[in-house]
């Protein structure tokens, strides 16, 4: 086995193990959330996943971004067949191991090239949209700093990877044409062919071409392993989590609010003397810390694991915020920021658990440190955000749980809402009209 093969295998194994560990950490963080059963209605769940994630069904609601995204998505999925060949070549020291496929191979390489060019162009347009056209949802305050850098880094990396792939093929083609040993005459090169001519690669010496070809080959695979591990510190995890996240979508009507069975049981016992009050909930231990039972959400531990999966799945595209009536009329609320804050808080908690070697100590901070009451109370629960989200994230559910915490644990609400509560409690109506006036409309 050659040193190059050993190096390759080490790289692959190292990158793979690191990625596995990173993913396990994400999984652990997600499971800090409350339990919730979302394993029912499986046939529907597969159908939603197929339509929304696999089929990109909600992306094309906005045709320009949607179609460009489909190019990048298709490129990502299909070009991975090429990565499989790179892995085989790297491990076994072969060159273009799939060449035996003959005409099918030509078709594959040809389509990879066209897609690679498409991805290259789409990412370039995305960079223009973000940085030159400056679409509102890409220049908002919540993207200042790391989120904006993150987005540009991802696009730049994809452009670099696609460039390396095409340049590799261009050099390979030149080597094939010079009939250099080891470089079998195979493949169709609709993009790198013209590229090779453009760059004048045919005039270069075989040794130079081999250097270019090998550099690009290594760059491509090292780039992919690095990118894989970059996912977990980036918003880009959606390329993986979009699938489970859509599978676990809320299947009930959007405006149905989540149940609180314990409160229902308590009220049932208050209204009916024959129903005993519910037994105290079993204590819940998370990361070595006992979590008190709470009404609503103070911190990430009080949210469900699905809320936390939502947070890791969010790629900060901002379609939610760009349709939010509160945000569009200048209120502080941005559903995207709610998701980013949830994820940032979860990451903060995760790091503290790492430092504490697996145990959590309350740090005096919470979701409410990041998400203000002014944001929570601006929501109209209209569900424009959940409708707009291309991967079925639900910011309204988080907002509702945080409102519940404010109202039921801290008795903190907007003054007029206290009046509304009193009216409902005393009159059975949100206004100060008694039940005896209920039929006045028929007499007026």
């Amino acid at each position: 086995m050659s040193p190059a093969q050993l190096l390759f295998i080490a790289l692959l194994a190292g990158g793979g193990i690191l990625f596995g560990r990173n993913l396990m950490r994400v999984r652990r963080n997600i499971l800090l959330g409350r339990d919730e059963d979302r394993s029912n209605r499986r046939a529907e769940r597969w159908a939603v996943m197929a339509r929304v994630a696999l089929g990109q069904g909600k992306m094309v609601v906005r045709p320009v971004a949607g179609l460009l995204h489909i190019v990048v998505y298709a490129g990502f999925v299909i070009i991975n067949i090429e990565v499989l060949e790179i892995v085989v070549d790297g491990v076994f020291g072969t060159h273009r191991a799939f060449a035996f496929l003959g005409p099918a191979y030509d078709l594959l390489i040809g389509s990879f090239e066209v897609l690679a060019l498409g991805v290259w162009a789409a990412c370039a347009i995305f960079l223009v949209r973000r940085n030159l056209i400056r679409l509102r949802r890409f220049v908002m305050k919540e993207l200042d700093g790391w989120p904006r850098t993150d987005a540009n880094l991802i696009l730049a990396t994809e452009i670099a990877l696609m460039s390396a792939f095409l340049l590799m093929n261009a050099a390979d083609l030149a080597l094939q044409q010079q009939q250099v040993e080891h470089y079998v005459q195979v493949g169709a090169f609709p993009v790198s062919g013209p590229l090779a001519s453009l760059l004048g690669l045919h005039a270069l010496a075989p040794s130079t071409l081999i250097a270019i070809e090998r550099t690009c080959w290594w760059f491509h695979i090292i780039g992919i392993m690095a990118f894989l591990n970059y996912l977990v510190v980036s918003k880009h995890l959606h390329i993986l989590l979009a699938f489970p996240n859509t599978w676990y979508s809320k299947l009930e009507p959007r405006t149905k609010v989540a149940e609180m069975p314990r409160v229902a049981d308590e009220v049932r016992s208050m209204l009916d003397a024959t129903v005993p009050p519910p037994a105290a909930a079993a204590p819940r231990t998370v990361a070595g810390a006992e979590m008190p039972e709470r009404f609503g959400a103070r911190d990430v531990f009080d949210l469900t694991w699905k809320n936390l999966l939502d947070a890791y799945t969010c790629t900060e595209c901002g379609r939610c915020t760009s349709e939010c009536p509160a945000n569009l009329t200048g209120k502080l609320l941005s559903p995207r920021k709610v998701m980013m804050d949830t994820r940032d808080r979860l990451e903060e908690v995760g790091r503290a658990i790492d430092v504490g070697k697996g145990t959590w100590k309350d740090d005096g901070r919470s979701l409410h440190t990041r998400i203000s009451e002014e944001e929570l109370w601006a929501c109209t629960t209209c569900n424009a955000c959940t409708q707009a989200c291309p991967v079925n994230i639900d910011p309204v559910d988080i907002i509702m749980q945080m409102r519940r915490y404010k109202v039921m644990e801290e008795s903190s609400t907007r003054p007029a809402l206290t009046g509304m509560f009193n009216n409902v409690e005393n009159n059975g109506a949100p206004w100060a009209f008694g039940p005896d006036k209920r039929m006045d409309w028929a007499r007026s």
Binding site: E266, P325, L417
Partner: protein, 263 residues
């Protein structure tokens, strides 16, 4: 329409050993809000015209708990909901129609978990069925040829996937139905949902209802059709703010049908 109308209650029917075809859930806005009362009465005229045997709960009706729940007060929601379910089940109610999408959503989606499962219809769905069954007939009337735009209530449209029933009903008016830039699944909220109706808006550049009213007025419609008493209030305020009340009317789908058919 100032004539007092006979409205049977569930209690009266139960005492006579009868059950109605459908329970009309009036809702708090429909019972107490001056503007929404006109919608209630228009819908009752349609029910009468179609000879629907209906009843109301009257003084036994109580808030569904929707605003309490959306404002985070789950205890209060449960108190309301469980007591309402007890009343409804006590009368053996099977079918409910309501002119409020918020009541509709709560009755339809949130009461089953508390033992209250009913066939719940929004009044635009109910009217659409009456028209299809030929129980009422509407042909143009006063609204023939008028430009009408329909504002999707979030709790009917995005919430429960009903976009067509109100539009199908409006088509019976022989009017020109025009769509706003944001409609159906992309419909823009009036600003009242999530208990916002009962509080001041949070600080911002603009009121949500003004934004939506501008969009509705921009269609050139003479009538903004609503299907929710809260949307109705918000859009009426918005149209006033734009000083368009002389040119643009905000009317509920039930008012349009009752008005057109001179029911």
């Amino acid at each position: 329409m100032t004539d007092p109308v006979r409205i049977p209650t569930m209690a009266e029917l139960a005492a006579a050993g009868e059950a109605p075809e459908v329970l009309f859930w009036v809702g708090c806005a429909g019972a107490f809000d001056d503007r929404a009362r006109r919608i209630t009465k228009a819908f009752v005229r349609i029910l009468h015209a179609a000879k629907v045997r209906f009843a109301v709960l009257g003084t036994e009706e109580s808030c569904t708990g929707d605003p309490a729940r959306r404002a985070g007060n789950e205890f209060l929601f449960q108190m309301q909901a469980q007591q309402n379910v007890a009343v409804l089940n006590g009368y053996g109610v099977k079918r409910i129609v309501t002119a409020c999408p918020h009541c509709f959503n709560t009755l339809r989606n949130e009461y089953p978990a508390l033992g209250g499962s009913y066939e719940v219809m929004h009044h635009t769905q109910f009217i659409n069925a009456l028209l299809k069954e030929g129980r009422i007939k509407v042909e143009g009337g006063d609204f023939k040829g008028k430009r009408i735009t329909f504002h999707d209530p979030c709790y009917l449209g995005r919430g429960n996937g009903e976009y067509e029933a109100p539009r199908e009903v409006l088509l019976k008016l022989d009017a020109a139905l025009v769509e706003m830039k944001r409609s159906r699944a992309q419909g823009f909220c009036c600003g009242a949902g999530g208990a916002q109706m009962f509080k001041e808006a949070e600080p911002g550049d603009k009121e949500v209802n003004h934004e939506r009213s501008e969009e509705a007025v921009a269609t050139g419609a003479q009538i903004i059709a609503a299907g929710c008493p809260f949307c109705n209030t918000m859009l009426t305020d918005g149209v006033k703010k734009l000083q368009q009340e002389g040119r643009v009317q905000v009317l509920d789908v039930a008012e349009l049908i009752a008005g057109a058919g001179e029911l």
